[in-house]
Symmetry: C2
Subunit: 501 residues, 2 copies
């Protein structure tokens, strides 16, 4: 059989196994009764292992090698071979015994993290994290890198990104953002407008989330909306991209921005053509790029003034008691800035500061062999320096995120890159569609979606993120559009005088 | 590795694949968005094929053969080897090419059936059914039988059952039931009580179904309740047995009896201990026995007078407009008898007559090479003879059920066996728990469930149905308890004099 055909056949098989795993995982977080858990982990493990074996088989490796040497592949096929080849070599680099030992450590470490967080006691977690970091350091060596070990991890989530490139973006960002937050909170006037606290029945919030997803263009013929504890979006298959969300009875903004954020991810996934799925190119250009699509819908659109002009009647329709609140006041309520020690509660101005801190600590762990025991202290100091608040406990500090407990080191920068890509894309978008704000105010999201589809979504992972951002915005990734965006927007909301310096 | 260990390992693997297939299938009928269908069939096909390959592998066959010769197995292990050995030999008997040709014909035939039913035109379906019956005749020869080809099919659904045994039960049943229905409808007085037609919001019906499932002892920590078009119950895993149901806005009894029926299946599944799952013994003693558990809850309990004493306040709580209707009138409304040409609309008195007709026709197709073209005419005649009504069209006659289109010949008797087992079990139950009616009237289902768990559920498929019914009731399967039950119950409801003959 022709190598190209064999390659596609194997990818098709892989797609089916991945589809089953995605459904089993989605169900575990949405519908599964609690006593179903015991077998679920084993079932997911079994099918994941089968997918792993398939994608690391010698036959598959030979296909990749042969196809890498061919020049008659389509652009998408060549991209597929590039992406799968990278993953194949990374997977083959780790001896199976080492990987198995890691997965066992991982599951123990995650349980220990949950317990340590509950007790707010880093010491209970420390030995586990030391073990995990030990494995991750080994993986970095096995994966290989050019400049520093951390780059081997970064590249898994943001292909082509390096510490040097990241630092070149991040440092000037920090140098301008930290003083801006200082001025904003010291000299600015927080927006008027009530805190939206009260009793907002979940059913009505869920219906509202459904409405807003429909309005932004999410296709319910190719998706669902379900409740979960930790919202996520998942692709079960082409034509089946599912959003999950969570609602707080006391505050309708939480569920609304959750829906917009996940909706952004889902629009990206629904916008990739079906043939990308077979080629394993339908996960987007990178984790950072995927995050850019959720941040764009959540923040650049959902936290904009015209959005609240459009959205206020829907909100008031669901909760008539809010009739007394103006669109402008709602816009203010959706855009408050504060120094929170908790990343997931951060507003769009301070969010990136939380990421910088994590990136610095991760870099030190990988590149400078920082002892794990020093993390809590460094965390508190850095948090005070950048965000301007000292966490009161380990639970609100170094233990707040699950990522490290599972060895997910190198992922955090994706969140920041998402914010930066989103601002840069939104700038290009507003230049190319000058009437965008008017359309949003009228609830017409079709031109926005058509632009995203045409310029970003349909390419999936065909281009690496550095190439894609150039194609979309005409320039390389930069923090400048983000800085201009937050400085302008929040100076106005906080009634801040232009910088006197 | 020890053969027993290898055998259990393979069964464990099989259990995981089956679990994934069960979830993919459940999701397809409940939550999947419509555009997800394309890949879903392929994904289910792929995993089912993997399960089939595993359970027909030479290694697995060798395990079975060796274990069949051993005398150190536990009772459950020996039963597992018996069940899996039977399935292994049946699967191996059919050459893969023949099976593949059959599955292609099957899928075309099902589509043709749906179209023919819509058009009420048997001729459109005839060539497909001829092809399917041809395959099924071949399968019967390949599976093997002692007395007649039909027995090879019957045994798949009701292990150990034969046409001769079935006929010995069925003929006396028909001889007493047909004249009883005649008398009932000619001389009896239909129960008073209103038809429960009106507007009954689905949300309230769904909540009511949930309540009734909880009350009968269905464990929501190990299950879910979801909407679907064609209600079914499925086991995803031990600790994960899911009920699906359907509601008609115009009539709350449809959704209620659907929930009770599926709840009966679900109690059986939830009552099998987890270790039976690994041994592939957790599907129950047979399809007929599974149906007995649903019929017992739906009819013997749910259509009993004390159930309506208990249930009326719940119904009135959900639909206050029904407050004017007494428990006795509701009992009457739940127990009307009529001559319907449609099996799924049949009441508990006439239901078995629908099955007898199908059994006779299936027997003729298999044992006497009845030409498929003669089915519509024979169907109408037999329907007139047994149920006493002539279908007005093919759609309401020979085309009404999906079963034959997929080659599911030999399954229909399970429905009747379910009714007979249920009556026989209920008779034993009422003898052993004389206070049962009082408990039901008070909504105390715990003694009932405990009895079913102890006497039936926990054994799964360890015993063949003929042995299990003996163990539970002290005697072999008989139609007598069913006849005594319907004659007594409906003579009273229809105010019929004792038989004067």
């Amino acid at each position: 059989m022709d190598t190209r055909t064999t390659y596609i056949d194997r990818l098709t098989e892989l797609g089916k196994l991945n589809s089953a795993v995605a459904l089993l995982t989605w169900d575990e977080e949405t519908h599964m009764p609690k006593r179903g858990l015991a077998l679920r982990a084993e079932t997911i493990g079994k099918l994941s292992r089968m997918a792993f074996e398939l994608s690391t088989s010698d036959e598959f490796g030979r296909c990749i090698e042969e196809l890498e040497g061919r020049d008659d592949l389509s652009e998408a096929e060549a991209a597929s071979v590039r992406v799968m080849g990278k993953e194949y070599r990374r997977n083959k680099a780790v001896p199976p015994d080492l990987f198995e030992a890691f997965t066992i450590a991982q599951s123990k470490s995650q349980a220990a993290w949950a317990e340590a967080k509950r007790a707010s006691d880093f010491e209970r977690f420390r030995p586990h994290l030391e073990e995990i970091v030990g494995y991750v350091r080994q993986f970095a060596e096995l994966f290989g890198y050019e400049e520093c070990p951390y780059d081997a991890l970064l590249d898994r989530y943001e292909p082509g990104m390096t510490s040097v490139r990241l630092r070149a973006i991040l440092e000037p960002l920090r140098d301008r953002l930290v003083p801006f937050v200082d001025r904003l909170l010291a000299e600015g006037t927080p927006p008027d407008g009530p805190a939206l606290h009260g009793h907002f029945p979940i059913d009505a919030q869920r219906a509202m989330a459904r409405t807003v997803l429909e309005r932004i263009g999410y296709d319910f013929d190719a998706g669902t909306l379900d409740d979960t504890m930790h919202p996520f979006t998942t692709r079960i298959a082409p034509g089946d991209v599912r959003v999950t969300n969570r609602y707080l009875e006391s505050n309708p903004l939480s569920g609304l921005f959750g829906a917009l954020h996940e909706g952004g991810h889902a629009l990206y996934d629904q916008g990739m053509k079906d043939d990308l799925y077979v080629l394993q190119l339908a996960d987007g250009a990178s984790y950072g790029f995927h995050e850019s699509q959720s941040r764009l819908i959540e923040n650049q659109i959902g936290r904009s003034r015209p959005f609240w002009t459009f959205f206020r009647p829907i909100l008031v329709g669901a909760f008539p008691a809010l009739d007394r609140i103006s669109a402008e006041a709602l816009y203010g309520a959706a855009n408050r800035v504060s120094r929170s020690p908790i990343r997931v509660e951060a507003d769009e101005v301070t969010y990136n500061l939380h990421i910088m801190l994590r990136f610095e600590l991760e870099s030190k762990l990988l590149n400078e062999n920082l002892p794990v025991g020093e993390l809590p202290g460094l965390w508190c100091d850095a948090m005070e320096c950048t965000v301007g608040v000292r966490p009161a406990s380990d639970a609100d500090g170094v233990l707040q995120d699950i990522h490290w407990s599972g060895g997910m080191i190198g992922y955090f920068p994706s969140y920041m890159l998402g914010n930066l890509y989103a601002a840069q894309i939104a700038q290009a978008l507003r230049e190319e569609i000058p009437t965008l704000d008017g359309q949003i105010a009228e609830g017409d999201f079709a031109p926005l979606l058509a632009w995203l589809r045409e310029r970003i979504h349909r390419f999936g992972a065909i281009y690496e993120p550095s190439e894609l951002i150039e194609r979309v915005t005409g320039g390389p990734l930069s923090a400048e559009p983000f800085l201009v965006y937050v400085e302008k927007k929040y100076s106005e909301i906080y009634d801040l005088w232009p910088d006197r310096s």
